[in-house]
Symmetry: C2
Subunit: 263 residues, 2 copies
């Protein structure tokens, strides 16, 4: 069984049994992968509002129907949020205190689960259209930067947007904007293009997260709202408990990426 | 009766009676205006193919159902292509030989009429979204440039694309691309953005057609396929007869601009 032929269901079962560990990137291609955020119920309302007010960096794919719910039948057969992700991070008061391969022991009836869209889906749509996604062709993590773009605050959540960057020639940049516009639930269209200094980024070769990529002559950097944004906001808001996925270890759903296209 | 309250039907009747002359820009807002190209039947097939192969600069809104047809009931009540445009240009062997307010005397049973989309429609959509369209706010003709982008040839028609330019801040540029993508029949999304030298334009302050506009700090120039492109191709192909509208004097149809939106 290889990455390309494993179904999302099979992959989640392997993860649950501890037989798949580490990154999910490149596994079960064609299916939506999600970022995970779990918060106590008394923080959940504010975080929901924060996501709704900042849909580019924090695109909500699903929210648990009620506190304590750990199944998402609409996202996947027999899917259990507590065991089906290869790695979790436990934050207390905004500080990372532990990484763990499953969270059954941490589960409580007041925990509310949020699943956010991830750039894997739109990168796949770009590649399917024949565009070169530089972080894929150079086999590195996408470069991410702290921008000066203020987020819309909601309760205890606020901060500035983290953006990811992918360079394209102008005609491909226009095509990339068109393609990503179809996928608002996975960050949608870019938030900026061109001069990085205009959004407070001094040096593209020094990302705050991920790895730098080559920018060739005549290429224009495009900047997307990034899923690291809510993590930074959570670190600042300091809820007593917050559980996220480990970087690169996503929830793999049964939803085809095309289901997220709004048009 | 003012520009804003005249219906397309009323405006065409005024034009036919010689009571409205000159530009149609700003009249009958909200309705599609079209570029006109009329060719002998033995040139029509190649021109049709040329438009189909170059939809960005030559977006076809309608083609006459047969040679000699001068009514377009699907585009407007009692619309007659021979009298309902304020000004026409007669070209012989690719050379402008006459301007005339109507073409009944030139009409022949072998003439085929083409109607092409015009940027007025997408400029209206941009303005309705709150974007500033610089050539409108500065009350000048949009600047147009001969680019080095090769057209797809069809028979005797070939050449390079003429592009129009409108500057925007990055976030507005992304929004403009999204909006224009909905309107492929009126030039659609831009063909280029950023460095003009990459498409063979040495100096934005010296357009080949139209007027220069201000480009403010941090603004990015966006370039669209332009309706002057087919006129340049026609001048080069040198058909024995060709009739077009005079610049700015368009065919005003009964079609709401929103009807051209594909999504």
């Amino acid at each position: 069984m290889t990455a390309a032929t494993t179904t999302p269901f099979e992959l989640r079962q392997l993860i649950r049994k501890g037989e798949h560990t580490g990154n999910t990137s490149g596994f079960a291609p064609g299916y939506v992968q999600c970022n995970l955020v779990i918060l106590p119920a008394d923080w959940a309302g504010e975080f929901l509002q924060f996501c709704q007010r900042n849909p580019k960096p924090c695109p909500l794919v699903a929210v648990a129907s009620q506190p304590g719910e750990h199944h998402f039948p609409e996202l996947g057969e027999d899917l259990d949020i507590r065991t089906d992700i290869p790695g979790y991070r436990i934050f207390e008061q905004g500080k990372l205190v532990r990484e763990t391969p499953e969270i059954s022991d941490y589960w409580r009836d007041d925990l509310v689960t949020f699943l956010l869209g991830c750039s894997f889906s739109f990168e796949e749509a770009l590649a399917a259209d024949g565009l070169e996604v530089r972080n894929i062709s150079e086999q590195v993590n996408v470069p991410m930067y702290r921008s000066n773009i203020d987020l819309n605050p909601a309760g205890r959540f606020s901060g500035r947007m983290v953006v990811s960057m992918r360079p394209f020639l102008a005609a491909d940049a226009i095509r990339a904007i068109q393609i990503c516009t179809r996928f608002p639930n996975v960050h949608g269209a870019p938030v900026h293009l061109g001069d990085p200094a205009l959004i407070g980024i001094p040096d593209l070769s020094k990302p705050d997260f991920g790895d730098p990529v080559t920018i060739k002559e005549a290429e224009i950097p495009l900047f997307w709202g990034c899923g690291v944004t809510p993590q930074v906001a959570l670190e600042q808001a300091k809820p007593p408990l917050c559980i996220t996925h480990s970087p690169g270890c996503m929830l793999v759903t049964d939803l085809p990426n095309s289901r997220l296209a709004v048009l």
